[in-house]
């Protein structure tokens, strides 16, 4: 009986706080995407040859943690199969956040655009047993910085 109560408390905490944090994060992401809109991020490997650009590797990474509610929902999904919707938003946030951090770094360098953007996703700890799982998303690319003409 006691276990059940603890479980329900953790579940509601996970849900309540998790949903709140997620909404806040999304608002921040959307606002920053608006601000960094002028800086395109391109997956292509061939940058324009002229004008001559200086280059720099830029990186943005985020580690997002799973909350108790999401983990339970995913475990249930593992019984029945199908889309794990709780993880979708998690990864979406992590990716967009990483991209924004990368763009921010590029913007700080005064870049005009970022080329050859690539992503890497890794699970930091899969959450075996009772440990919390977390996911790291890395976005990296080459920033093209307009050289000031002499």
């Amino acid at each position: 009986m006691f276990d059940l109560i603890i479980f329900l408390v953790l579940l509601s905490l996970g849900y309540g706080v998790g949903q709140y944090a997620e909404r806040r994060h999304y608002r921040s992401i959307i606002e920053r995407e608006g601000r960094l809109n002028a800086l395109p991020a391109i997956a292509s490997r061939y940058p324009p040859i002229e004008p001559h650009y200086g280059q720099s590797l830029v990186i943005g990474s985020t580690v997002v943690s799973v909350d108790y509610f999401k983990r339970f929902l995913a475990a249930l999904r593992n019984l029945f199969g199908g889309r794990v919707t709780s993880y979708e938003s998690l990864l979406d946030r992590a990716r967009r956040e990483s991209l924004l951090r990368m763009k921010q770094q590029a913007a700080d360098l005064g870049a005009a655009m970022v080329f050859n953007v690539k992503y890497e996703t890794a699970s930091i700890s899969k959450g075996r047993g009772n440990t919390i799982g977390s996911i790291e998303v890395l976005a990296y690319g080459t920033a093209l910085i307009e050289q000031r003409r002499k």
């Binding site: 009986m1 276990d3 059940l4 479980f7 849900y15 949903q19 999304y26 959307i30 995407e33 608006g34 809109n37 002028a38 800086l39 395109p40 991020a41 391109i42 324009p48 509610f69 983990r71 339970f72 929902l73 475990a75 249930l76 999904r77 593992n78 019984l79 029945f80 889309r83 919707t85 709780s86 979708e88 938003s89 979406d92 655009m113 075996r128 047993g129 009772n130």
Partner: protein
């Protein structure tokens, strides 16, 4: 070459299913499935267990826990009472019931594998008259007759095994309670049937079931005294005391049995026998190397 960065609309890479609704559907479905599966497995495990011949059960009995603190007179008295009750019940061929008394003051009695029944002094002391004792004995003997100990083990094992395989994810440990709930359901069924059989035997022996209710009153009083609230019916392995009494009255009405009558008193020396058993038990505890009075669960644990 133009480079633009148009805004991408939200919601393409995320599903808009509401998490709470999904939780309800999934958890509800999972629980339902598990309860059904456990019930099915219980049936299967029980049937399989029943195939084990009774004679072989004796080999599995937890002999070390079955103390015999009863003196020769107490043992003879209990055996003759048990014999008279046994003739009222339809005990199958080859089924032998062995009565053991423990001098410990635990308020309990149970039937375990191989036809062994253990009665604790703590419970025997509280019995007001022979009819209550007969009801207690008959109840435990009914468990043996129905082969409840081995069936219970079979059911429990089957449920635990397959649930463990399926719900291996430690995050879902909380769903294991579904299996537990089913096991409780089976236990309560067994208790109900044992009650019915015991009542029939008591009626046959005394011509009325007057003393039978007193057994449950005694148990109920003890429960209150020990301060433990009766858990809601869903979590307790025994049908609630009131439900049991109601069931008794209903059965009596149905079969036309009398609920009033003279209660046969216990033999005068009964109390003395019990204190002798207590002394024997205390001695056994004091001597090193000997097993102490049993207190652990073994097979099926039945509260008289």
């Amino acid at each position: 070459m133009k480079y633009r960065n148009p805004r991408i609309p939200e919601g393409i890479n995320v599903s808009d299913r509401h998490p709470l609704k999904e939780l309800l559907v999934l958890a509800g479905g999972a629980l339902l499935l598990l309860v059904l599966l456990s019930w099915l497995l219980g049936q299967f495990g029980g049937r399989l267990a029943r195939l084990l011949p009774f004679e072989h059960e004796a080999a599995l009995a937890p002999v070390s826990l079955l103390s015999s603190d009863a003196g020769p007179e107490l043992q003879a008295y209990l055996d003759q009472l048990g014999g008279r009750l046994g003739s009222q019940m339809a005990m199958p061929e080859g089924m032998e019931v062995r009565l053991h008394v423990s001098g410990g003051d635990t308020f309990n009695a149970f039937a375990t594998l191989g036809g062994n029944i253990l009665l604790y002094r703590g419970l025997l002391e509280a019995l007001p008259h022979e009819n209550a004792l007969a009801m207690l004995l008959a109840h435990e003997m009914a468990h043996v007759e129905h082969r409840d100990p081995i069936v219970g083990i079979g059911q429990g094992a089957a449920i635990q095994l397959v649930l463990g395989l399926l719900v291996g994810d430690p995050n879902l440990a909380v769903l294991g309670s579904a299996g537990l709930y089913t096991q409780l359901h089976y236990t309560r069924e067994m208790e109900r049937e044992a009650d019915t059989e015991a009542l029939t035997a008591v009626q046959g022996m005394y011509g009325h079931i007057a003393g039978a209710r007193d057994l449950f009153d005694v148990i109920h009083m003890q429960r209150e005294r020990s301060g433990r609230e009766e858990m809601p019916a869903i979590f307790s392995s025994h049908p609630l005391d009131e439900q049991r009494l109601e069931a008794i009255s209903a059965l009596a009405r149905e079969r036309g049995w009398s609920e009033t009558g003279e209660a046969t008193p216990l033999p005068a020396a009964f109390r003395r026998w019990l204190s002798e058993a207590a002394a024997r038990a205390a001695e056994a505890r004091a001597m090193p190397g000997l097993a102490t009075s049993p207190s652990s669960r073994v097979g099926r644990l039945h509260r008289g």
